[in-house]
């Protein structure tokens, strides 16, 4: 009886932990930080979460959370509808494919994965929405590199927190 309860509770607890984590990261992204910090760079923090989900939770609920996070961002953003969930799902799929070749067990390899995917996702978004024509190429490159590097640096503590929490809930790299 105890075993059954544990089996049912742990995935639900994980799901709500992931859901709340994702909601919180989206909230942080939407805050108008320029009220206090005029030059702050906006980072897609929830994308780190999508990568984490792809590594640790490749179940239907993981796919669903990746889709949901994209939809949440899209609801608060001016981005054309359907694009962000699609980009999140493609990133999720690419990680699952890459996992057949590379394990991504260390924090560093996970951070490099964040850099590569964040750069590619942002670039794809800019190309699809034709934003590449709105900025000079050098500005785009500089911004993409800065954002991806910052996200990579930030992903390490985030992954450390997520990992700790995930291991405490019995979640392992799948």
């Amino acid at each position: 009886m105890v075993c059954v309860t544990a089996e049912v509770n742990i995935p639900m607890k994980q799901f709500f932990f992931f859901l709340l984590g994702g909601l919180f990261l989206v909230l942080i992204q939407a805050i108008p930080w320029y009220y206090v910090f005029p030059q702050v760079i906006q980072l897609n923090l929830s994308f780190v979460f999508v990568i984490f989900l792809a590594l640790y939770r490749p179940s239907p609920s993981g796919w669903f959370l990746a889709f949901l996070l994209g939809s949440l961002l899209e609801a608060l953003s001016g981005v054309p509808p359907g694009l962000l969930p699609l980009i999140n799902l493609i990133a999720f799929f690419l990680i699952r494919v890459a996992r057949r070749i590379v394990l991504f067990e260390s924090l560093l390899s996970q951070a490099i994965l964040v850099f590569a995917l964040s750069f590619s996702a942002d670039l794809s978004l800019l190309i699809i929405t034709k934003l590449v024509s709105a900025y000079p190429y050098m500005v785009i490159l500089k911004n993409l590199l800065a954002r991806s590097l910052l996200l990579m640096a930030l992903s390490m503590p985030l992954f450390a927190i997520f990992n700790k929490r995930a291991y405490s809930q019995g979640l392992v790299l799948k």
């Binding site: 909230l27 805050i31 009220y35 906006q42 899209e74 359907g82 694009l83 709105a134």
Partner: protein, 273 residues
């Protein structure tokens, strides 16, 4: 059947979500009537925390400007009387209040000048993606706001309402790449379409090379796009490039309103409302 589903559940769920996203994107021509209910729920859910955080951020800024930035001055002038410190502190407070008053007075002036109804709103959130230019305001359907209503300040147009929830709305800013406004050069009446350039600038497109456009020319709305009334300031011409072989000239604008530092805006209601 159930074992087949269990075996391929990831593939089935992923395929369904991808197809759903693609279908949403392919039918992404936004209807003019209502904001989709999912988006309304999200906007409503994020509105209270964003309002609270924005008010905290404003308090922090006030604290920074009135206290912390003065700490150095206080140390240097430690010999001065405490009353002077208090006066400086009060002065800083007054300056902040004065700036806020000026902004609000400008909005009120705008209200009294305009024959249309105006509703003032506060910016409580910004586009979470960074590449796009949108903002969240603390007024929504409860205040009578509808999609595609113009958003302005006393300095000019800001954008238009993109999505509406109960007490929050999303504004597509003038500088967003998806934004376009029919406009004309005030001096010569040369017509064109103002499109966002994403980098805090706009471009006045489709202006014939034979038209006379100069640096500093004011660009105003033409009233022909069906959203903005005629004569609202869009921005000033900051760059003109002409090529004798091209049909159109390149005209770059700086918006009248500083869109990346927005704090308060007004939503314009049609005159017949």
């Amino acid at each position: 059947m159930s074992s087949f589903f269990r075996k391929h559940q990831n593939f089935i769920v992923a395929s369904f979500l991808v197809v759903f996203s693609l279908s949403v994107h392919s039918s992404s021509v936004r209807s003019n009537d209502n904001t989709p209910s999912f988006r309304r729920i999200i906007l409503n859910a994020y509105s209270p925390p964003l309002r609270a955080i924005t008010s905290i951020l404003k308090e922090v800024r006030h604290l920074l400007s009135s206290y912390i930035l003065l700490l150095g001055v206080q140390e240097k002038n430690i010999q001065l009387q405490k009353s002077i410190d208090r006066l400086i502190e009060q002065n800083m407070r007054m300056k902040e209040v004065l700036l806020e008053n000026n902004r609000l007075r400008n909005l009120l002036l705008l209200k009294s000048r305009s024959s249309s109804k105006l509703v003032s709103a506060e910016i409580i959130g910004r586009d979470p993606m960074g590449w796009f230019k949108a903002a969240l305001i603390n007024k929504g359907a409860g205040d009578g706001i509808k999609r595609n209503q113009p958003v302005i300040t006393h300095q000019g147009i800001v954008g238009r309402i993109l999505d509406v929830a109960a007490d929050t709305s999303k504004v597509l800013l003038l500088t967003d790449i998806n934004s376009s406004v029919d406009a004309l050069v005030q001096r010569t009446r040369a017509r064109g379409i103002v499109e966002g350039r994403a980098s805090d600038l706009c471009e006045l497109k489709y202006v014939s090379s034979s038209e006379d456009v100069r640096l500093g020319d004011l660009v105003v709305t033409s009233g022909l796009c069906g959203i903005f009334p005629k004569g609202l300031t869009v921005g000033k011409v900051t760059r003109v490039m002409k090529d004798s072989f091209d049909l159109f000239q390149y005209v770059e604008l700086t918006p009248g309103t500083s869109l990346n530092k927005l704090e308060e805006v007004c939503i314009l209601f049609p005159e017949n409302n």
